[in-house]
Subunit: 115 residues, 2 copies
């Protein structure tokens, strides 16, 4: 669990707007312009958020001719959850169970569930 990665992940998750963007994209991939259309901020602002989410590894860019579509990737989230389980598991049963849940089985496997 790379510490510098956790840095980028928690940093990315710190902003409410970015969490909102991530939650939205998690349900269905989208472009910066599409996202900006449903938000009170400009496309450029959205683009910056997407950039930091991408740098944190939470999103991947996919060029599609003229536009760029972003899709969510789960791994870094699990990583962050692991950190919490590791820290909190020492004094909380709930987080300890969480640690177990994360420890089991492979990261991402089977076909990605439908959107």
């Amino acid at each position: 669990m790379p510490e510098d990665r956790a840095d980028a992940v928690f940093g990315a998750l710190a902003d409410p707007m970015r969490r909102r963007l991530l939650a939205t994209i998690a349900q269905r991939p989208a472009t910066a312009t599409e996202l900006a259309g449903a938000l009170p901020i400009t496309r450029q602002a959205v683009a910056k958020h997407l950039a930091s989410l991408t740098e944190a590894g939470l999103l991947v860019r996919e060029r599609e001719g003229r536009d760029v579509r972003y899709r969510a990737t789960p791994a870094p989230l699990s990583s962050a959850a692991s950190w919490m389980a590791e820290v909190g598991g020492q004094w909380d049963q709930r987080l300890a169970r969480l640690a177990d849940a994360l420890a089991q089985a492979p990261g991402r496997s089977g076909p990605r569930p439908p959107r």
Copy 2:
């Protein structure tokens, strides 16, 4: 899962120094002065970090005569983990399991500490 709470929690977790402090205190309660002694920053800086961690509900203050001892509380971490499971569970099996783990009976932590 109060959104404003998640804000404070993720915000608190965003800083590496604060994660370090939280991890340290999780293992053993400590005072600001003690913590500052083992860190490259001043006591006041530590105090500020402890204040935001406390406001996020991740720590509780305990006055002991002259000094103040901080102790970790698990609830908000679980809350943050829930958010991640909720968002990520839709497209990742690992996080979906995490959601299940968190859904089960609460840990030894009683009712969430009032604001």
